[in-house]
């Protein structure tokens, strides 16, 4: 049986369903991220686990115990708030010590535990400072130490890195994961940043308009997004509308504006409208004669480790990403060929939605 279990959790605010029918099982020691655009109900879900928001329906179980209606201050979970919510009138030491004090841990035992937590987040020299005398990254780590010191069964993180600048955010991602591995605490993190979710989670839960649309390992979500919305939300993608012209068991041929493209997908029927998704880095530039189709380089952008091309062709404008391996990049205006392997093409049944936010409504 799983350690933390959400079963058909729903939260309604009047007519608005902020979270609808969410079911999720988290194993002991696992790091799970809730990923989704702003307003999709991630915080609300986390707050229901924390006990600050009461679910309209459904049950939450922790280690076999039903905690759905338990008070927040009886759950003993460790929470890192988006704003960190440090106690501004207490020193770093007192902030971290607060949870132990509330658990009536004897004074003599508190000090070594606080010191241990502070050294875990590399803040030992700052114990006597007040929160406003710390940088954003340091405050974030105080919040983490404060949540971990009580040795909670589950650690809840609400966009823990979103207030940090890009460089620090990346460094903290790895540090966060390292700390979590070291202490082995079951962790649920909320984020709208896919890179953050992918780099540190065991599993990612994609949420869309209050519902879960996919739960999977990070690379599976990227490579096999179950909905068109996910393929758009998670990384860049080329979406191509087409029609199935032949279907044979495990494969099919799809006609894209008259060009026949082989795909690997079972269960399609001839005449069906489909949308193909191809990640930009799965497309390769070739000499015109070798390509499955040809196009003209409309624009190119230098991203440091990569080049991003916009290629105008018979299918409209396609994005192509190539590694900057030191070879000469294609010039704007040049005619190039495009090729890809049939196995990298994802097929979604049905017509293409107009824009990501429309997709959000349709699938939600």
């Amino acid at each position: 049986m799983s350690f933390l279990e959400l079963k058909n959790i729903t939260k309604r605010y009047g007519p608005l369903t902020a979270v609808g029918d969410v079911s999720l099982s988290v194993e002991k020691g696992e790091f799970v991220s809730l990923l989704g655009p702003s307003g999709c109900g991630k915080t609300t879900t986390l707050q229901m686990i924390a006990g600050f928001v009461e679910p309209s329906a459904g049950t939450i179980r922790l280690d076999g115990r039903d905690i759905t209606r338990a008070k927040a201050n009886s759950r003993g979970l460790g929470i890192v708030f988006q704003s960190y919510a440090l106690f501004p009138h207490m020193t770093v030491f007192d902030n971290v010590s607060f949870g132990l004090e509330m658990q009536r841990v004897p004074k003599g035992e508190r000090k070594p535990r606080v010191e241990e937590a502070l050294s875990l987040v590399h803040l030992s020299p700052y114990a006597k400072r007040y929160p406003r005398e710390l940088s954003g990254g340091q405050r974030q780590r105080v919040a983490l130490a404060r949540a971990l010191v009580i040795r909670p069964p589950v650690l809840l993180l609400d966009e823990p890195l979103s207030n940090l600048d890009a460089k620090l955010r990346e460094a903290m991602q790895f540090e966060l994961r390292e700390i979590q591995r070291k202490v082995g605490t079951t962790t649920v993190m909320v984020t709208h940043d896919q890179a953050e979710a992918f780099s540190i989670s065991d599993r990612v839960v994609v949420m869309e308009a209050g519902r879960i649309t996919q739960i999977d390992q990070p690379y599976r979500i990227y490579e096999h997004p179950e909905t068109e919305f996910i393929s758009r939300f998670v990384g860049k993608t080329n979406l191509l509308p087409g029609k199935v012209v032949t279907a044979t068991g495990a494969g099919a041929t799809v006609s894209l504006a008259g060009i026949a493209v082989p795909v690997e997908a079972a269960g399609l029927s001839v005449g069906e409208t489909v949308t193909l998704c191809i990640r930009p880095e799965k497309l390769h530039l070739t000499v015109p004669a070798d390509g499955l189709l040809t196009g003209r380089v409309a624009d190119r952008f230098f991203l440091g480790s990569q080049w991003l091309y916009h290629i105008d062709g018979p299918l409209g404008t396609l994005m192509v990403v190539t590694a900057n391996d030191g070879s000469t990049p294609a010039e704007p205006g040049a005619t190039v060929g495009l090729e890809w392997s049939p196995s990298v093409v994802r097929v979604h049944r049905g017509a293409m939605a107009e824009a990501p936010d429309v997709a959000l409504e349709v699938t939600g």
Partner: protein, 301 residues
Amino acid sequence: MSATVPDTAPASPDEETHERRFPTAPLFLSAPAALLFAALVLIPLFLTALLSFNQFDYATGRTSGFTLEHYLSVLTDEYYLEIFLRTFRISALATAICVVIGVPEAYILSRMSNPWRSIFLLVILAPLLVSVVVRAFGWSMLLGPEGPVNAALMAFGIGRMRLLYTEGTVIVALVHVMLPFMVIPVWTSLQKLDPAVEQAALSFGASRGTAIVRVVAPQILPGILSGSLIVFGLSASAFAIPGLLGGRRLKMVATVVYDQYLSDLNWPMGAAVAALLLIANLIVMLTYHRLVEGHYRRRLG
């Protein structure tokens, strides 16, 4: 006279060019406010201070010369001393009661959701729209020998009580008038509070009461402090409430000043009492401010 170059380096090149081009700009810009302040506050204060050193002749009512006799007689007369003590006692009690009532009131207000919050905020502020004099009359009718309170006491067989012209009544009326001045600053500092901070306390196992005492209260202390200073200052110099509800016997400093000016026509004496009230008020408030704020400056910034 030649202009001297300031020898301290300006903070930034930007400021430097500003200072070079418009050296007198800050003076000009603050002049209107400074003049208004001088005309409305400093000059009357200065004239009052001057007046308090004048000699007074009871026969002719004329004032002239220089003397410290008014200050000496106020400071040595038991009668005045008692009035000063009573004034500060009443003000301190009214302030304490305002803290006890106003802080929870502001907290509850800040926890309300919107239609109710606006309505109750209005209810709290509405009394400010009615003149203090009218409200004082209201209290005197309510608590008078023939008022509804005494009628109720009679009906319950307790018997008529003398409610008017007691310290208790003055304090109750002062609390009524001053409460908004406590609620508003506390409410403002509660608004600035991150609600997640209280949630954080709860998540670490604190009870609601502990969260309020250990986490919320220390953070709204600056609001409580400024509310207390306003309430104390206004109470100590209150005139209408003690004048109407304290009667002839239960005087406070402001009513004594009034009497000196208008009944005894001893203006220098009135001025001396007023000056002493100002000084005493300043000492009490600055001490309080020092004690409380000094304690919390480093933490809350």
